[in-house]
C-alpha cells in the first residue's frame, strides 16, 4: 500500500499538471484570437488607406 502522504502528493501533482496544461492551452487560443483580430483590423485599415 502506498503511504497516505506520498499518495496525496502524487495526486496533487497529477491534477496540477492537467489543469495547468489546459489553462495554458486556453490562454494560447485567446492570445492567438486577439492577435488575429488586431491583424485583421490593421489590414482592413491598410486596404482603406490604399484605396483612398
Amino acid at each position: 500500500m502506498i503511504p497516505y502522504d506520498i499518495s496525496i502528493r502524487y495526486m496533487v501533482a497529477g491534477y496540477a499538471v492537467i489543469i495547468l496544461v489546459l489553462i495554458t492551452y486556453v490562454l494560447s487560443l485567446l492570445s492567438r484570437w486577439m492577435v488575429l483580430k488586431r491583424n485583421l483590423r490593421s489590414i482592413k485599415d491598410g486596404i482603406v488607406r490604399a484605396r483612398s
Binding site: M1, I2, S7, Y10, I18, I43, K44
Partner: protein, 236 residues
C-alpha cells in the same frame, strides 16, 4: 467573425462547470482505492484525457477523408484543430500516467507496449504539426495533411489495443476475456459514475475547444486572404 455564437458561449460555460463538478467528484465523492490510496484518483482525468486525445485523432482522420473527397478547405481547418487539441490532451494523459506510475510501479517511465505506442502516437502528431509548417501552398499542405492523418490514424487502434496485443503491465480498464497480462482494480459504483462523468465532461471540453479553434482557423484564413489582397493593391 465577431462574437461567438450563443450556443458556443453556453458550451464554454457548461464545460467549465462540468470540469469543476468532475474535479469535485474525484476529490470528494469517489472512495479511496485500497492499495493505491489517493494516487488512484489521477486515473479519472488520465483516462478521460487519453479518450479525448484518441477521439480527436480519429476526428482528424475523418476530416482528412472528407477533405480528400470534397477538396473543401474547411475540412483542413477542422483536421488541424482536432490534432492540436488532441495533442494537448494526449500529452496530459502521458504526463499524468507517468506521475501515477512513479509511486505505483516505482518508475516514471517504462517501455511497456501501451506507454511506447502512446509516446509514438504523440510524436507522430507532433511531426504532423511540424511538417505542416514546411509547406507553403495551402492546397498541397491540406492534401499532405489529409493523407498523413489517415496513415497516422492507424496508430490509434494500435495504441488502444496494445495491452491486448502484447503483454503489458498497464492496467486494463475495459476488461474482456482476451485481455492478457496487466491488472485492473475493482471499481465501485461511485468510481464508475465518476469515470463516466469525467469522460463525458472531457468530451464536452473537447467539442468546445474544437469549435473555438476552428473559429481561429477561419479567422487565420481570412487574415491571410486579406493580406494577399492588400499586397496586390499595393503593387497595382
Amino acid at each position: 467573425m465577431n462574437r461567438p455564437p450563443k450556443i458556443l458561449t453556453f458550451l464554454s460555460i457548461l464545460s467549465s462547470i462540468l470540469f469543476l463538478l468532475a474535479l469535485g467528484l474525484v476529490l470528494f465523492f469517489t472512495p479511496l482505492e485500497a492499495k493505491m490510496n489517493y494516487v488512484q484518483k489521477v486515473f479519472y482525468f488520465h483516462l478521460s484525457s487519453a479518450w479525448v486525445g484518441m477521439l480527436g485523432f480519429i476526428c482528424a482522420a475523418i476530416s482528412g477523408i472528407a477533405y480528400l473527397v470534397s477538396q473543401d478547405m474547411k475540412w483542413d481547418i477542422i483536421e488541424v484543430a482536432s490534432v492540436e487539441i488532441s495533442l494537448v490532451f494526449f500529452l496530459n494523459a502521458i504526463v499524468s500516467g507517468s506521475i501515477w506510475a512513479k509511486p505505483s510501479w516505482g518508475t516514471w517511465w517504462t517501455w511497456d507496449p501501451r506507454l511506447t505506442t502512446a509516446a509514438i502516437l504523440e510524436m507522430i502528431y507532433v511531426a504532423y504539426i511540424l511538417l505542416r509548417q514546411g509547406i507553403d501552398d495551402p492546397e498541397r499542405r491540406a492534401r499532405f495533411s489529409a493523407v498523413y492523418t489517415l496513415v497516422g490514424g492507424l496508430s490509434v487502434p494500435v495504441t488502444f489495443l496494445s495491452i491486448r496485443l502484447w503483454q503489458s503491465i498497464h492496467p486494463a480498464i475495459i476488461v474482456t476475456q482476451g485481455t492478457e497480462g496487466g491488472s485492473s482494480f475493482g471499481m465501485t459504483p461511485a468510481m464508475l459514475f465518476t469515470m463516466i462523468f469525467s469522460i463525458l465532461t472531457f468530451t464536452f471540453i473537447f467539442v468546445t475547444l474544437l469549435w473555438h479553434r476552428i473559429r481561429i482557423g477561419h479567422l487565420a484564413v481570412l487574415v491571410a486572404e486579406l493580406r494577399n489582397q492588400e499586397n496586390e493593391e499595393m503593387q497595382s
